[in-house]
Amino acid sequence: MSERDSNTGDAHDVTPYAPGAGTVRVDDSGGGIVGNEFAEVGVAVDHSGNGPRLRLEDYRTGRVRNLDALELETIIWLPEERLTQLLDPSTTRWREEPDR
């Protein structure tokens, strides 16, 4: 039964979230979408430069940020409380001061 399902698929029942063509390069590195009910971010390793970098796209606003290896390593080492501070909405997007 399940074999049948996997052979023929249930393509009509499920429409996976699909970003616009060319928005994200999904490659062998396992790029894809990291989404939950609070945010939806496209993740892909981008090879268009001289070396690879992580391309992140906020699907709700279209804002993109590229992170290189050292930046990623830094995030891994970020103390928990620093990450927590960044999650405070008024630290980043929703603050009275204009962006610099």
Binding site: M1, S2, R4, D5, N7, T8, G9, D10, A11, H12, D13, V14
Partner: protein
């Protein structure tokens, strides 16, 4: 899946079959309904996440041919209390489309609205059904029926009739 035009069945033939299947279910004609199924039948009503694997996740119904028989035999005893007396049922099928052909089976999609009346009151059921139809010895038969209830992620009332 190949092009729709490869289907051995016309849309009219498909409609006639689906309406007949619906009528048998509405009217609790268990013998006629059972005779529609192929031996490799699958009658599936997923719960919650429709993409989950029925071998490892709970479904509302996941009957192979054997279990379809068991289900109908239980109903035939007349002591399946959740269907004794049987619900009064009428369903409307619409948006019927031939979706393609897979392994010789014609895959069909349709929407339905079903009204159930019991002594507890009226209950409305609705959803999307995917059928796989196969021509066996010149007869249209049902190999697969998957019913995605619109409220499959919510608590639902007893559904002991044929959906």
């Amino acid at each position: 899946m190949t092009a729709v035009t490869d289907s051995p069945l016309t849309l009219r033939q498909v409609e006639e079959f689906l309406y007949r299947e619906a009528r048998y279910a509405d009217e609790h004609d268990y013998d006629a309904w059972e005779a529609l199924w192929t031996d490799d039948a699958l009658y599936w009503v997923p719960a919650g996440d429709a993409t989950s694997d029925p071998a490892t996740s709970m479904s509302i119904i996941h009957d192979n041919r054997n279990r379809i028989s068991t289900r109908l035999n239980q109903l035939r005893t007349g002591k399946r209390y959740s269907q004794s007396p049987p619900s009064n049922l009428r369903r409307i099928l619409s948006n019927i489309e031939i979706l393609g052909v897979a392994g010789g089976d014609t895959e069909v999609g349709a929407n339905f609205v079903l009204v159930e009346s019991t002594s507890r009151g009226m209950e409305t059921w609705a959803g999307r059904t995917t059928y796989r139809l196969r021509v066996v010895d010149g007869e249209v038969r049902l190999a697969y029926k998957k019913v995605l209830l619109v409220n499959r992620d919510q608590p639902i009332r007893t559904m002991a009739f044929l959906i």
